[in-house]
C-alpha cells in the first residue's frame, strides 16, 4: 500500500515579523521545494504568522551529535566573562 514515491520531508523556518530571526516551526511533506513553500504557507501561516519562509530538505540538515555536547558546549560554560551580566558596572554609569 505504501506509495512507490513518497514525498520527502522538509523542515520549515518562518520569520514571524520583520526584524526577527527565522524560527523552526515544524515539517511538511512535499514533492519539490516550490510545493514545500506552498505547503508551509498553508500549514503554518494561517494566522498571519509569517513574512518569510525557508524550506530545507530534512535530509540536508547536519546536526551536532548529543554525544558530543560536552566537547562542543561545555568549554563555553566557564568563559562567563562573555556575558554582560558578569560585569559589575556602577549604577551611576547607566549607558553601558
Amino acid at each position: 500500500m505504501t506509495d512507490r514515491a513518497d514525498w520527502p520531508l522538509y523542515e520549515i523556518f518562518i520569520r514571524a515579523r520583520g526584524g526577527l530571526d527565522h524560527k523552526h516551526v515544524g515539517s511538511v511533506h512535499a514533492a519539490d521545494p516550490t510545493m514545500a513553500l506552498e505547503h508551509a504557507r498553508d500549514v503554518y501561516t494561517r494566522r498571519q504568522e509569517g513574512v518569510s519562509i525557508w524550506v530545507v530538505r530534512s535530509a540536508d540538515i547536519v546536526a551536532s551529535d548529543p554525544a558530543d555536547s560536552d566537547a562542543l558546549f561545555e568549554p563555553a560554560r566557564d568563559k562567563i566573562y562573555r556575558h554582560p551580566t558578569f560585569y559589575d558596572i556602577p549604577k551611576e554609569v547607566d549607558t553601558l
Binding site: 511533506h29 516550490t34 510545493m35 494561517r46
Partner: protein, 272 residues
C-alpha cells in the same frame, strides 16, 4: 439617474457620471455574477475537505475555499445594499432559486477527481486574476477595493492551481492522460468566460467592468502559457455554450443548492 445606495463611498464627478450610464439593477446583477461564481466554487471546494490526496492539499483547497467565500460575502453584501430590498448576504445565498444565481456554469461542475478540480480551478483562477486586476481600477470605488483585496488572494490561488496543472500534465503518463481528458470535458464551459454579453458590454462602457475582448485575450494568453508548460493540448472551441451568468444553468446547480440551502429552507426565519 440611478439611485445611490446607502453607505456608498463618496464619489467624484467621473464616477457619478459612469454610474449614471447603468441602472442599479444592472450593477446588482454584475455584482451577483462575481459573488455567485465565488460562492459556488467555494461550495465545491468545501466538498474536498477530508478527502484530498494529501493532508497539505486538504489545507490548500480549504484555504482557497475560505478566500472565495470571503470574497463572495463582500460582494453579496454590496449587492444586497445596492438592491435596497433588505436582503442580507445569507438571504441572497440561501433563499434564491436556480434561475436567480448568476455564477458561470464552469463553477458548478462537479469535483470529479483531483485533476478535474484543478483544471476547473485553474481556468477560473486565470480568469479571476485578469478580471480582478482590471476591476481594481473600476469606476465603482467599492468594487475596486474588493477587487484589489481579492487579487492578492487570487494570485496565490493561480500559483497553486497552475503549479498542480503543470505537475499533473507533465507528471506520469497516467496523470497526463487524465488531466488532458479533464480539460476536454471542461473546455466547453470556457466560452462563457470570454464571450461578453450585453450586461458586460454596458458595464465596460460605464467604466465599471473591463473591456471584454481585452480581458478574454489576456485570459487566453495566460492559459496557453500554462498549458504549454504542462505539455497539455488546448482543446478546440465548441459551438455550444452555457449561460449560467444569465441564470441558465446545468443540472448540477439544482443539486448543489439543495445541499447549500437545505437548513434555511427547512427552518424558515430561524437564526443560526
Amino acid at each position: 439617474m440611478s439611485a445611490m445606495a446607502p453607505g456608498a463611498v463618496a464619489q467624484d464627478a467621473a464616477t457619478r457620471d459612469a454610474m449614471a450610464r447603468v441602472t442599479t439593477e444592472q450593477r446588482v446583477r454584475y455584482l451577483l455574477r462575481l459573488a455567485d461564481t465565488g460562492l459556488i466554487l467555494a461550495q465545491r471546494l468545501g466538498e474536498w475537505v477530508g478527502h484530498a490526496p494529501a493532508i497539505e492539499e486538504d489545507l490548500g483547497l480549504a484555504n482557497t475555499a475560505l478566500d472565495l467565500l470571503g470574497q463572495a460575502r463582500l460582494l453579496l453584501g454590496y449587492a444586497g445594499e445596492l438592491e435596497g430590498r433588505g436582503r442580507s448576504e445569507d438571504a441572497l445565498a440561501f433563499l434564491r432559486a436556480e434561475a436567480d444565481f448568476l455564477n458561470v456554469t464552469l463553477a458548478e461542475q462537479p469535483n470529479g477527481d483531483f485533476g478535474d478540480t484543478i483544471v476547473r480551478q485553474f481556468l477560473i483562477d486565470a480568469h479571476q486574476h485578469e478580471l480582478f486586476e482590471r476591476l481594481a481600477n473600476s469606476a465603482d470605488p467599492r468594487l475596486a477595493e474588493i477587487a484589489a483585496k481579492a487579487l492578492k488572494e487570487t494570485r496565490y490561488h493561480l500559483r497553486y492551481s497552475s503549479g498542480w496543472l503543470v505537475r499533473l500534465g507533465d507528471g506520469t503518463e497516467e496523470s497526463h492522460a487524465r488531466v488532458q481528458a479533464s480539460l476536454e470535458r471542461l473546455w466547453p464551459y470556457t466560452r462563457e468566460l470570454v464571450e461578453a454579453d450585453a450586461l458586460e458590454r454596458a458595464m465596460a462602457a460605464a467604466g465599471i467592468a473591463p473591456e471584454p475582448a481585452e480581458l478574454g485575450a489576456a485570459w487566453s494568453k495566460r492559459v496557453d502559457a500554462v498549458l504549454a508548460t504542462a505539455t497539455l493540448r488546448r482543446p478546440a472551441d465548441v459551438p455550444f455554450a452555457w449561460y449560467g451568468k444569465q441564470g441558465r444553468h446545468s443540472e448540477h446547480l439544482g443539486h448543489l443548492l439543495s445541499e447549500l440551502q437545505y437548513l434555511q429552507r427547512a427552518h424558515p426565519g430561524a437564526c443560526w
